[in-house]
Symmetry: C2
Subunit: 357 residues, 2 copies
């Protein structure tokens, strides 16, 4: 049997593309066949610095990658405002699309991307890596466990980091023409996805941004928080470019609590930790029991597992065994819908904003 | 030199009084000289079960304790709605007042208690034990450290437990005649105090309760959350009688993060843990550094340190060296003011409610 690997093209040389390039090379069912940048020199340097196979083609533009018949799927790490244009062209050219998050400036743009993918019959997935760590599935088992966790009553997530150097002046993530969602799109994305994930992808009825969000002079969100209204639950998150790195999730149930302090990127590549405590009691001199630590190891890093899963779905389509998996575009869309509602709440003076799917 | 000990009277035999009785006996500068209950039998049993000194007097009512010239200070573990009456009488009879939390049903009642204490020149303190653990001071040092923590941007606290057995039917904490504040008074008290503590006792401008709070049929809060508006910060908490025990605080600063998972009562009586990480960076394959664990040991449990500090303040007053310390009534009052504002926000359809000192 001849080994088939899904052949990736990459458009753009963003920093995050280094991690995903490595992931494509680590994943057993994928390889890199092309990279394009607006600068041929940059693309050439990127390919050599990141150990691309010698067969990989290097282009001085994005179109050539999308026109290359040796490219099955394209990874798009471009600034968010460019996603609409390039993801749609990629889909039209029958390339499967692995799209960096945040996937779009708003759900209207995302819908055009998803429609293009659907009408071309290509797979769409956003690059939310932590979803693919085996720890994520294990934590979901905890949340679903009626004995250890019970019914979910409260969630809080924080996702933040401090941009280094001149980040707040020059990074694309704070440039209103490139990434107007700022910290909400870059880091809030993870918190919102985690909340949706914990609640079986049920959308909140309303969202209310917490006063006051911090915006830069061109209106890009540097820091904000919100509460998501699920009847009878208290669900909140905080995201920021101004606070020390955090990617925390705490979930409280009627029978137990789950905590994780590095859910977006594990402290250690090969092991993910989380903490669970169940049926806690006040005892005479303290609390009992103490939370237990769980460690989930993974041979492949989460980003390689993501690429592997994406390629598995593409293989199924290529072999005629299946249509594109609809779960992934659905998750992207719900995450974006919540983001849009939070932006609307901020713009509407922190009033509750109805979430419409 | 003759050893002088501040002599405590206790009115009421609530469960929490067992812990505080032990604390009074452990603290080197205090002793128990009397206990009163509506039932003499109950008071007698309580005294014997909790190792009271043989000299301790046992009364079948509260007044006798407050009239006893061998009582210097009184500990009041009665249901919240009875605080006004008994704390005021105690103060009028020149007894120093250590009052269980929540201190009152609302700030109007608290003010009458504080006025009675002030006009009698007696010390007032609420029984928020965790404030007195040496860990608390160490954590404050972290929050004040410009290198390790920087400027505080976000706080989240959860304080919850599930009442055992028929708690939700019969416990005084869910009885609208005894403790109408419910989970907000019992557990939210700790989160609010922790937030005030972290922010140098600055009051928020407004508070906004998170929809929807859960109330029982007589209007007692079983579960709620709120955001506290400090300009440019995202500060939230969750408190509940319906979620597994949690007493967490997470603080995010521009340079570091602080986390504690048992701030109200440490898992182990003699040691309190907390976690700090500073200047975290994304590195190629993960995050760096991992949070560090800090362990603060204490010979005396936090409730004994509380009693000891209270008695130290009383001694200073007795010896004529000082007036009552105003810090403690101020902290109680600010905590109560925030609680009142959250109740008002819930009653006002979750609108932001201005906090007035």
């Amino acid at each position: 049997m001849i080994e088939t690997r899904i052949r990736f093209g990459i458009i753009g040389c963003a920093n995050i593309a280094r991690k995903v390039s490595r992931a494509i090379l680590l994943s057993p069912n994928t390889t890199i066949s092309a990279i394009g940048s607006r600068s041929l020199e940059k693309a050439t340097a990127f390919a050599s610095e990141n150990g691309f196979p010698e067969t990989a083609k290097v282009y001085g533009n994005y179109d050539a990658v999308l026109d290359d018949p040796d490219v099955d799927a394209v990874y798009v790490p471009l600034p968010t405002s460019l996603h609409l244009r390039w993801a749609v062209v990629a889909a039209q050219k029958k390339k499967h699309v692995l799209l960096e998050k945040p996937v779009a400036i708003n759900v209207g743009e995302l819908d055009r991307i998803l429609e293009a993918c659907e009408s071309s019959g290509v797979q769409f997935m956003d690059a939310t890596m932590w979803m693919h760590h085996p720890r994520t599935e294990k934590m979901k088992e905890v949340l679903s466990d009626q004995q250890r966790f019970g019914q979910l009553n409260s969630l809080h997530s924080t996702c933040s980091y401090v941009g280094e150097g001149d980040f707040l002046k020059n990074n694309i993530r704070v440039n209103s023409n490139l990434d107007s969602l700022g910290a909400l799109g870059d880091m809030g994305w993870y918190s919102i996805r985690a909340i949706l994930w914990a609640l079986d992808y049920q959308l909140p009825k309303t969202v209310t941004a917490i006063r006051d969000a911090e915006l830069n002079e061109s209106g890009v969100i540097l820091s904000c928080g919100a509460s998501l209204n699920y009847e009878g639950k208290v669900v909140t998150f905080y995201c920021s470019f101004l606070s020390n790195l955090s990617t925390d999730l705490i979930a409280l149930g009627t029978k137990g609590n789950l905590r994780v302090h590095d859910f977006v990127v594990p402290f250690t590549e090969t092991v993910g930790h989380y903490y669970v405590v169940s049926n806690s009691k006040w005892v005479k001199l303290g609390l009992d029991p103490e939370p237990s630590e769980f460690k989930i190891t993974t041979e492949l890093p989460q980003e390689a597992l993501m690429v592997q899963e994406f390629a598995r779905l593409v293989e199924r389509i290529h072999s005629g065994d299946a249509k594109p998996e609809k779960k992934w575009p659905m998750l992207s869309r719900k995450t974006q819908v919540v983001i849009d509602a939070i932006v609307a709440s901020i713009n509407d003076g922190y009033e509750p904003f109805e979430v419409v799917n």
